[in-house]
Symmetry: C2
Subunit: 474 residues, 2 copies
């Protein structure tokens, strides 16, 4: 199949038809009217700006998101801005509820559309913003000026492609390409095909500056200077892994064009038998730390979970347990954004047990003060341990210290380990010393630990996560 015919198939599926467009225009107009009425009722100066992909005609057929910004006078203080914003939001979206980004705003549904109604300051240009959200109307304006119909179509290709490969979204779970970044890239390379041809050859760090006004330097793999703000990298949240993922799939698409890259089949859930087979064949020891995820929004939850995963891997390592691979799963509940389900830290261990002793390297013998202190401390323990140990029970782990002895010019001791069993460590209070995240730390107190065959209990809820784990792809 040629790339041309693949894109033609994709185009049919992602382009909203006339009816969908008309329906959107009608709803958007109604919402604008309701918002203006609410402003009038409040007796506040202000105007309404439609932003986001629906505003620019770059939405994918079937998307039902409307982002509406209410620009209020720059003289208002933050409390007033938020207060007016919420009042208007509740007026326009009677069943809406408050969410929190830069500041609180109202989110709700209206005639089947998901609507965000966000208050911002009416400032002269993007360099004089008072709140981060003030930038958004300028982004919208920039893109409206730079996107023609053909580029809008190509933005849809790019978005659908990024969704297909799992790299779309600037949320802190995905750390992928935001809508704005995607649109800028399509503009900058003047189309979807030139973009993927260029990306296939990228040598990160890649720096783009559409308005040629950037001054600062950034450490990121991809730097796209915001056309409306020279000090901002639009791709700041994008991970190096998603840059690599995009490059990989751009090459795939060019080498072997196929619609599946835009619309991949959903993964099938892993069965218990398959899980068992993977574990037996890999000869690793799976272990899961399971707890109720704290009720915070994803952008707060995911960084904490990744931090905690790293902390537990380090904690296991410090106690001698090598982690082969690990991942985080969170139950999809379909509940509101700040109501979370069960979270799982999933590890494969090289071995579930370690020796009862660990090697501890002391100072060089020649450093007399330290060396004597070290030797005396441990020689005394070794002596008394050796005596105690004579009466030790068979099969019991050692509490005995071996040494000090010499390796090259240093003293060495073999000290008893605190834990010889990974499950024991993960269940212990000692686990709470690892780095976590404020809310995850509390939640982790109520953890359950499943080791070995016990992880089969995860299949019901996390079968799809486990399928992805055991069939990892770029």
């Amino acid at each position: 199949m040629s790339l041309e015919s693949v894109l033609s198939t994709v185009e049919k599926r992602v382009t909203p038809d006339a009816a969908e467009r008309a329906r959107f225009e009608q709803i958007a107009e109604e919402l604008r009217e309701r918002t203006r009425a609410a402003l009038a009722e409040l007796d506040v100066d202000g105007d309404v700006v439609l932003v986001g992909s629906t505003a620019r005609g770059t939405w994918l057929s079937g998307d039902r998101d409307i982002d509406m910004f209410v620009r209020l006078p720059a003289e208002l203080d933050r409390t007033e801005l938020v207060q007016h914003g919420l009042t208007i939001g509740h007026e326009v979206l009677p069943e809406g509820r408050e969410e929190y980004a830069e500041h609180p705003y109202v989110k709700g549904t209206y005639e089947g559309f998901d609507v965000d109604l966000v208050p911002c300051y009416d400032v002269a240009d993007a360099e004089h913003i008072q709140s981060a959200v003030d930038r958004t109307p300028f982004h919208s304006q920039y893109l409206e000026e730079n996107l023609d119909d053909e580029l809008a179509r190509d933005v849809r290709f790019a978005k659908r492609f990024l969704k297909g490969i799992g790299a779309y979204g600037s949320d802190l779970r995905t750390r992928g390409f935001s809508g704005y970044l995607t649109e800028l890239l399509v503009c900058e390379y003047d189309g979807f095909v030139p973009l993927i041809e260029a990306a296939a050859e990228w040598q990160p760090p890649v720096k783009l500056d559409p308005e040629d006004h950037g001054q600062e330097t950034f450490d990121d793999s991809l730097v796209v200077i915001d056309p409306t703000d020279p000090e901002r990298n639009v791709a700041a949240v994008l991970s190096a892994e998603n840059v690599a993922r995009f490059q990989h799939y751009c090459r795939e698409l060019l080498a072997e064009p196929r619609v599946e890259l835009f619309f991949p089949p959903e993964r099938e859930s892993l069965s218990t038998a398959e899980l068992r087979r993977h574990v037996r064949e890999r000869r690793t020891t799976p272990v899961a730390v399971v707890f109720d995820a704290p009720d915070v929004v994803d952008d707060q939850l995911w960084p904490q979970l990744h931090r905690t995963l790293g902390g537990v891997i380090d904690g296991l390592g410090d106690h001698g347990f090598d982690v082969f691979r690990a991942d985080v799963f969170v139950e999809e509940t379909g509940a509101p954004a700040d109501e979370q389900g069960t979270a799982v830290l999933f590890f494969e261990l090289v071995s579930p047990t370690v020796p009862a002793v660990s090697r501890h390297v002391g100072p060089p013998v020649s450093v007399r003060g330290h060396a004597e202190g070290f030797y005396e401390k441990y020689a005394a323990r070794s002596q008394s341990d050796g005596e105690k140990s004579e009466g030790g029970e068979d099969g019991h782990a050692s509490n005995r210290l071996y040494g000090p002895f010499l390796v090259e010019n240093r003293y060495i001791v073999e000290r008893p380990r605190e834990f010889t069993d990974a499950g024991e460590y993960l269940r212990s209070e000692a686990l709470m010393e690892v780095r976590t995240g404020a809310q995850v730390e509390d939640a982790l107190q109520g953890r359950e630990v499943h080791l070995g065959d016990e992880v089969e209990a995860l299949v019901e809820t996390f079968g799809r996560d486990l399928a992805a784990y055991f069939d990892p792809r770029p």
Copy 2:
């Protein structure tokens, strides 16, 4: 106990009495006479020099070693020198046999003494030597000029102390202090007590140059420039560990003087029950590679064994098996120097098994040529493995490849391991790829591998080595 009274006790045990001295003088004179007669019979110019501790009166009571050098004209070529040396040697020691150091010589017993009869060149000074052994008469001469009776007594303290702590002998098993080095140190510090007081404070590298004529720089922990040869470090073979050992026990002797440091009790052999207890308490997996040591002298055998031990540790590591601690044992047979008994490479493993997959990190995705080559190679294998694996037997290790997938900006695969069981690897032909030593490599072909409880078979022959292994001391 004071250091003084400890030394007084030691002195009584190490000083040869008048009868022992007289006996030695008589035997030495007989040997000299026999050697002169042999020289006369051969009609070769030459003289006989007694060297070593017996010559200098620094031997320990009970020692029965006589080193006799036959100095032959410097004009002889090497073949003649050796030929004359062997002829004289066999004449003087009719039951002697040939050994090989710098060149062949005759070793035998005479009236209960162990006699080495070594031919060397008669050169003007140590800087004009033609063979390494030519140096020895100059060493002897230097020490005869510098050692009085009191220093000779202190040399005996130092030798006995170094023997007691296991650091005496410049053979390549011990890599300790040679007799000559010990004598030079006692001279340089003007006595045994000043020597140990200084050594307790040494900050290696320590450099001594009795004749103040050294030019070269050396990397060793202890450098003692040969008074008869400015280009030679007398302590070149001494290991950093034995320097540290000497420092440690010097401090011990000063802090708590005791005769046991000079005459330590022999270790008791480890019982099977004790071995079992150590293994259970330590929760490591012992494994022994047992083979007939090749019939070469110790100075050839031991470096090869240590090289092989390091090679096998690295080989195990490369296959994922972590070694906790390891050592080499060789059976003491009491047979001639080049007839060796059984050798053991003894390892404690962290775990006897490893996962069936190992992580392999590929190139960054951005390096297009390498990245595409890597991805295509492994993606094809992964595909076909996944298909094969469907029919795999339960419990079987994987031959399946997982990935490629992404971690940060790189491709990663999890490849099947060749061995998941350490015993299997150690018994396999793959072990022969590790670095060994020419003769040990051949011997290793006939190895047996004992894993876990099977190592109990070692107790009978290697009980004392195992006792030292499981009660390691400086």
